[in-house]
């Protein structure tokens, strides 16, 4: 139950950290951490405006996306390992719930019929084409090495003991892969710059260009929640299983800070370079699987 409360409050809070750290890196004061929360509640009260070509999809898609992501989040271990639901093979449901959210958002974006949304959606979807299999293979690699069943067992800390060198190697590699997926999914710098205002270069932002008011707030919260999910998966992979829960909080903050540092140091890549890089998590997962397979055969 603690997880449920945890995911309602903290995502927007943690997202607020990034602009703050970027500003400090540059020597500016930056907007307050709680600003995102305030914007969220302000947006909920505002009225909405829709294009005359829009169909009901664009009105209800963000709601469905949020509920799907929220239910997916309930499966994932955040602070405590005991998740609200968990059954054998629930990671498939999680992945598909996330892709349902993304799919519905893509449809909603195409509703207004402006060319920006079309461009943004096609780029976003071409990313998912490589991320979904990557997620599956990452989960497969973990199962192959530790043999756990449901999602909470997989990502729960006790899977990776540091004393076994192979498990730790696999854990680290997959953590990096998941981190890259985090950057892509939440459209952070190397792949997409959230702060840009030139529609031609946006990917995720342009999809939500046409939303306003209540729906815009919902979308912001969903994006933050998704980022929060990936971050917690990464942290669970890195942390050894016997550590107390506050280490988990420290690591989460460290991840968000590292994203901010990364953003301020690197510029974004060219559009088709992005596509090549999106293959990275897929390759890492395959590499780890190959290594584990070789170990299984007793090569080392």
């Amino acid at each position: 139950m603690i997880n449920a409360i945890f995911i309602i409050v903290f995502p927007l809070l943690f997202v607020g950290l990034i602009p703050k750290v970027k500003a400090i890196m540059v020597g500016r004061k930056g907007k307050p951490v709680l600003q995102n929360l305030r914007d969220f509640f302000k947006l909920l009260r505002k009225s909405e405006i829709y294009s005359d070509q829009a169909t009901p999809i664009s009105r209800y898609a963000p709601l469905l996306a949020l509920s799907a992501t929220f239910v997916a989040a309930l499966f994932i271990p955040f602070v405590s390992d005991k998740t609200l639901f968990s059954f054998h093979g629930d990671y498939i449901l999680i992945i598909y719930l996330l892709s349902l959210a993304k799919g519905v958002m893509a449809l909603a974006a195409m509703d207004s019929g402006s060319s920006f949304q079309g461009m943004g959606t096609s780029r976003e979807l071409s990313f998912t084409a490589f991320l979904e299999p990557a997620f599956f293979l990452i989960v497969a690699a973990i199962i192959f090495s530790s043999g756990a069943g449901s999602c909470s067992e997989i990502f729960a800390r006790q899977c990776f003991g540091y004393f076994d060198v192979w498990n730790s190697f696999a854990g680290l590699a997959l953590a990096i892969a998941l981190f890259i997926m985090l950057l892509v999914e939440s459209s952070r710098v190397p792949f997409d710059d959230p702060a840009t205002h030139l529609e031609l270069t946006m990917i995720h932002e342009v999809m939500i260009l046409d939303f306003s008011g209540f729906n815009l707030g919902i979308i912001h919260y969903t994006a933050a929640l998704k980022m929060f999910i990936y971050a917690s998966l990464v942290s669970h992979l890195i942390l050894p299983s016997t550590v107390a829960f506050w280490w988990y909080l420290v690591l989460m903050i460290a991840i968000y800070i590292s994203i901010a540092v990364l953003e301020s140091l690197m510029a974004r890549f060219r559009m088709n370079r992005n596509l090549e890089l999106v293959l990275l998590p897929l390759c890492i997962a395959l590499l780890t699987l190959a290594v584990l397979m070789a170990k299984f055969l007793g090569a080392w």
Partner: protein, 636 residues
């Protein structure tokens, strides 16, 4: 059995008097009887057997039902009447002189599809099999000249497929001594491969599936709906029949899964680039058959590696996917039939904003899209969920030889699932959303309720079996017992189905909650689409079918056979600058057509011998006489 079949035969009479209404009613009645019969065989009593004696070389023909054919039988007896119902309304729009013959052949096609399931004797089976191809050929034709080319290709491909089957059955007869299907037990590899290839022709698997994307777009919608949801399954029924009676070695299973993977990739890459709505759906049929095949391979791997869990999940996933695919594919085809009637075109680039003009069809098409891209809430999701589970179960297998193919299956399935989702989101977005791209799309209007009836039934079926997959599982249960698989694991799966349904309920509850909140505290305004610094968004500015897929195509290009013609601007005032890109079916343009051209050129080389001069004819006779004499006297 007899009542159902007799009623269906009687249904042919109104067909000959152009009474399509009575035709549909009789078909409903007949199918109900047959469904009862199939259900009975599925759930309770043993196989019920008739013997039909035929003259000497053919011997006695046994007509019987086993659990597998009963499963397909139930599917046909549910799907066919719906198809006929849709056809009835569809044909009311298309007043064509060939109505009487079309209904007649439609009836024959349905009957032969049921017949294929009953007969257990290879000669008579092949006879009904070819009758099915013949009747579907005439249905596709629908006495229209433009369908001639596709229809002809379809018939000849089926003829070649039947030749493979012929060879396979002949060899089995020689090996086992009887034409009966009981001879299928331990087939030698060669006949088994031939029979599998023969069935692959009809099932639409990669190297031999190029007839499918040609035949479906031209066929009338109800025929293409029936064909791609049920006729293809007869091919798969044959494959399953052979696989269930024989033990495959590991390398054979690996090869089979490789073929299915290639078939899926080929289909998806074409699906992404397709502009014709029905051809896209045809490619997606090939892809879904490939996914079912992957499920079967996973099941077989499980059996081979003695992993009961993997086997149970694999086969359940495959059977579920067959059943669900026939539901949502038929729904999508009838939906596209409605679109064709409303707009008069199937080209995606000429459509747009149909959701505003055809709200019902748009909603139902959305449900179909959910199902085919296996998103939650749809039945497609649960079958792929089970197949994923079986692929991952392989990890605690003993030897790597089992893990590698299942890994390949897992990766391929994930990749294809993602691409399929993208393709169908693209199709939905281009067809239903944005601004109308052509006058046809502009004047489109919703059809009479009759046309939407069967689409509505199928959409409800998708949602029900999607949200509560337990129903379908109970339906598949006897089939698994027939494959003698472990039932506790199956019970575990049923348990998980309940859990998934409960999670769906939670998501729906949340959605309802947010919906209510939004209803209360949000005021809505509508205005023009936001255009960044230009006056008005014109339909031309929307992303077309090619630009939508351009970033992804960057990766698929090397695998795709592209034929592009472009006219460059030579001098400063160019008249015409044009770039046309087309992705024709690689197998058809690079393999089948050149080979047939070479064969006909070789044959026509001999056409000169008929030169009209009598003495050259006599010269041939004399030459042949001398050759034979020398051969007979000299060498014998």
């Amino acid at each position: 059995m007899s009542i159902g079949i007799i009623v269906l035969f009687i249904a042919l009479i109104p067909a000959l008097w152009k009474r399509s209404g009575y035709f549909v009613i009789l078909w409903l009645l007949g199918s109900a009887f047959l469904a009862y019969e199939y259900m009975e065989v599925m759930f309770s009593r043993a196989i019920q057997d008739y013997i039909l004696t035929m003259p000497m070389p053919i011997g006695d023909v046994s007509i019987a039902l086993n659990k597998l054919s009963a499963f397909f039988g139930v599917m046909f007896s549910l799907g066919l009447p719906l198809g006929m119902l849709y056809g009835h309304y569809y044909l009311k729009e298309h007043q064509s002189p060939a109505l009487r013959s079309h209904l007649f052949w439609l009836g024959i096609m349905g009957l032969s599809m049921h017949g294929v399931l009953w007969i257990r004797h290879s000669v008579v089976f092949l006879m009904v099999w070819e009758l099915m191809s013949l009747s579907s050929f005439f249905c596709i034709l629908f006495s229209k000249r433009e369908n001639m080319e596709a229809g002809l290709n379809y018939l000849i491909t089926m003829q070649i497929g039947a030749a493979f089957l012929l060879a396979g059955f002949g060899l089995v007869y020689l090996q086992s001594g009887t034409f009966d299907f009981s001879g299928f037990e331990q087939m030698k590899p060669l006949p088994m491969y031939l029979i599998l290839i023969g069935f692959a022709f009809k099932a639409g698997i990669f190297p031999v599936a190029s007839w499918l994307p040609q035949a479906h777009p031209v066929a009338p919608s109800h025929v293409s709906g029936i064909m791609s949801s049920m006729l293809i399954k007869t091919g798969f029924y044959g494959i399953l029949l052979v696989l269930s009676l024989n033990r495959l070695s590991l390398s054979e299973i690996a090869a089979l899964s490789f073929v299915f993977t290639i078939s899926a990739f080929w289909a998806v890459s074409h699906l992404l680039n397709e502009r014709n709505l029905k051809r896209a759906l045809a490619y997606s049929s090939v892809e879904n058959i490939a996914i079912t095949g992957m499920g079967i391979c996973a099941g077989l791997l499980g059996m081979h590696a003695h992993l009961p869990a993997m086997a149970v999940f694999g086969f359940t996933g495959a059977f579920l996917h067959i059943f669900f695919h026939s539901i949502f594919k038929a729904q999508l085809f009838y939906g596209s039939g409605n679109i064709l009637q409303a707009t008069g075109t199937l080209d995606i680039d000429e459509m747009g904003a149909l959701a505003k003009r055809m709200p019902y069809t748009a909603a139902m098409f959305l449900i179909g899209i959910f199902a085919i891209s296996a998103l939650p809430f749809s039945n497609g999701f649960f079958s792929e969920f089970t197949i994923y589970r079986s692929a991952i179960e392989a990890f605690d297998a003993a030897s790597v030889a089992h893990i590698l193919p299942s890994l390949m299956l897992l990766g391929a399935l994930a990749f294809i699932g993602a691409l399929a989702m993208i393709a169908f989101i693209r199709i939905y977005a281009l067809v239903f959303q944005g601004a109308p791209r052509s006058t046809k799309a502009e004047q489109a209007s919703e059809l009479k309720p009759g046309n939407r009836l069967s689409v509505l039934f199928l959409s409800l079926a998708i949602l029900i079996t999607g949200i509560v997959p337990g129903i379908a599982l109970r339906f598949v249960k006897p089939l698994l017992r027939w494959f003698d698989l472990d039932m506790q694991i199956f019970a575990g799966l049923q348990q998980q189905a309940l859990q998934i349904s409960s999670i769906y309920l939670i998501v729906i509850a949340l959605f309802a909650l947010f919906y209510v909140i939004r209803k209360l505290c949000v005021r809505e305004k509508t205005g023009a689409t936001w255009a960044c610094a230009y006056p008005r968004v014109s339909p031309k500015m929307q992303s077309s079918s090619i630009t939508y897929i351009q970033p992804l195509a960057y990766f698929l290009k090397p695998f795709m056979y592209k034929k592009s013609t472009h006219v460059m601007a030579e001098h400063p005032f160019p008249q015409k600058v044009e770039y046309l890109e087309d992705h024709p079916d690689a197998i058809w343009t690079l393999v089948v057509r050149p080979v047939s051209r070479i064969i006909s050129k070789f044959l026509l080389f001999f056409a000169r011998i008929h030169n009209g001069k009598t003495n050259s004819y006599i010269a041939w006779a004399l030459g042949f006489l001398v050759i034979l004499l020398v051969w007979v006297v000299g060498f014998r």
